[in-house]
C-alpha cells in the first residue's frame, strides 16, 4: 500500500546519518514535472542562525524517508554542491508550485496550491496537491503523470476536479478513482 505524506511534513525534517548525527534538514523538494518523480532535496543547516547548505541530497542516496527523519548512510550521501537541484541545459528554471493557481484545461480555477502530496515508497513521486479553494476550503487533488506548470498556474485535466479528497486517508481512493475513471476524455492524457 502506498503511504501518502504532505510535502510540508517532509520539509524541515532532520537529515540523520546511521551514526546518529544530524547533518542538515530538508529545504526544498525538487521533482520532475513530466513524471512527478522526486529527484532530490535541497538542504539547510540545523542551527537557529544557519542558512541554506548548498548541498543537494539525491533520492538514490536516501536510506529511508521516515515520519520523523530522513535517514542517510553517512555524510558522503550528500552531493558536494547543489547543482543537482539546478535545471539541466534543456530545462527551464524550476517553479515553486506552492502558491500557484490550479486551473483545469477547460478553464476553471480550482484554487491555489498550499502543499503537495507525496506518495512515499521505493520511488516517491508527487501524486497531487493540497489546494485552497475560493471558499477557503482545503481539498486534496490527485494529479498523476505530467503536469504543465508555469510560475502562474498548474494546468490539470478536467476529470481531476471530480476526484478530490478531504484528507490523506481518502486520498488513495481519489487517486484510484481518477486512474480508473470510466470515460476517457480524448483531449486529456
Amino acid at each position: 500500500m502506498t503511504v501518502y505524506m504532505r510535502a510540508g511534513e517532509i520539509a524541515k525534517k532532520p537529515v540523520v546519518t546511521l551514526a546518529g548525527d544530524d547533518i542538515g534538514q530538508v529545504k526544498d523538494i525538487v521533482f520532475d514535472s513530466s513524471t512527478g518523480d522526486i529527484r532530490c532535496f535541497t538542504l539547510a543547516g540545523r542551527g537557529l542562525l544557519s542558512g541554506p547548505l548548498h548541498r543537494a541530497l539525491l533520492w538514490r542516496n536516501v536510506h529511508a524517508l521516515g515520519p520523523h527523519a530522513v535517514m542517510v548512510r553517512d555524510e558522503s550521501a550528500l552531493e558536494e554542491d547543489d547543482s543537482a537541484a539546478t535545471p539541466g541545459e534543456d530545462e527551464r528554471a524550476g517553479v515553486n508550485v506552492l502558491g500557484v493557481a490550479v486551473t483545469t484545461r477547460s478553464g476553471t480555477q480550482l484554487g491555489r496550491v498550499t502543499d503537495a502530496v507525496v506518495a512515499t515508497g521505493r520511488k516517491p513521486a508527487v501524486a497531487g496537491y493540497e489546494v485552497e479553494t475560493a471558499e477557503r476550503e482545503r481539498v486534496l487533488l490527485p494529479v498523476a503523470g505530467p503536469i504543465t506548470v508555469s510560475g502562474e498556474r498548474i494546468l490539470v485535466s478536467d476529470a481531476t476536479a471530480q476526484h478530490s479528497a478531504g484528507n490523506l486517508g481518502g486520498f488513495g481512493s481519489a487517486v484510484e478513482g481518477l486512474r480508473h475513471r470510466p470515460v476517457h476524455d480524448p483531449q486529456e492524457d
Binding site: 540523520v16 546519518t17 546518529g20 521516515g66 515520519p67 520523523h68 527523519a69 535517514m71
Partner: protein, 146 residues
C-alpha cells in the same frame, strides 16, 4: 548492571589508593554494542573521560584504574573518538533506520566485565544491544523491527 546504578561510583587509582572522581555517565559504540568510555566528575573543572580499555575492574563499589594519567579532559578528545561526549546515549531520541522515533534513552544495561550492552532502556521498552547502529549528536539509531 544499569548505568543509573553505576552513577556516583568512585573511580580509584590503584597506585595511590586515592579517589580520582566519580562516574557520571558513559559513551557507547556499536557493533557489537559496548561501553566505549566512562564520563567522570573529578575535583577539577569540567568533565573527564576514561576509555573502557583503561578500566582495570568495575567492582560493586568502585571502579579501579591503574594509570590515572589515562583520564582525559573531555575537551581534549576529538569528535571521532568513541569516548567523545557526543556518543553519550542518555536523554537522546531513539530513531530506527527507517526514520521512526520511538522514545528517549533513559538508561543502559551493561555487563561490568566485558562492557557489552545488553539493553538500551526507554520509557516503553528495552531495546536489545545488538539492534544498535550508532549514537551521534542527534539520536541513537537502531535497526527497524522486521
Amino acid at each position: 548492571m544499569l548505568l543509573s546504578k553505576a552513577r556516583g561510583k568512585a573511580v580509584v587509582d590503584l597506585t595511590t589508593a586515592e579517589t580520582i572522581g566519580a562516574v557520571t555517565g558513559c559513551t557507547v559504540a556499536p557493533s557489537p554494542a559496548h561501553i566505549a568510555g566512562l564520563r567522570l566528575k573529578t575535583r577539577g573543572r569540567g568533565h573527564h573521560m576514561l576509555h573502557w580499555e583503561d578500566v582495570r575492574s568495575f567492582g560493586p563499589d568502585a571502579v579501579s584504574v591503574e594509570e590515572p594519567d589515562r583520564v582525559r579532559d573531555e575537551k581534549d578528545l576529538e569528535a571521532g573518538d568513541q569516548a567523545h561526549a557526543v556518543h553519550n546515549p542518555i536523554g537522546k531520541a531513539v530513531l530506527t533506520e527507517t526514520g521512526l522515533e520511538k522514545g528517549t534513552v533513559m538508561d543502559v544495561e551493561f555487563d561490568e566485565q566485558s562492557g557489552r550492552i545488553a539493553h538500551l532502556v526507554t520509557a516503553d521498552e528495552q531495546i536489545p544491544g545488538e539492534d544498535l547502529v550508532g549514537v551521534g549528536s542527534y539520536a541513537v539509531v537502531v535497526t527497524a523491527p522486521q
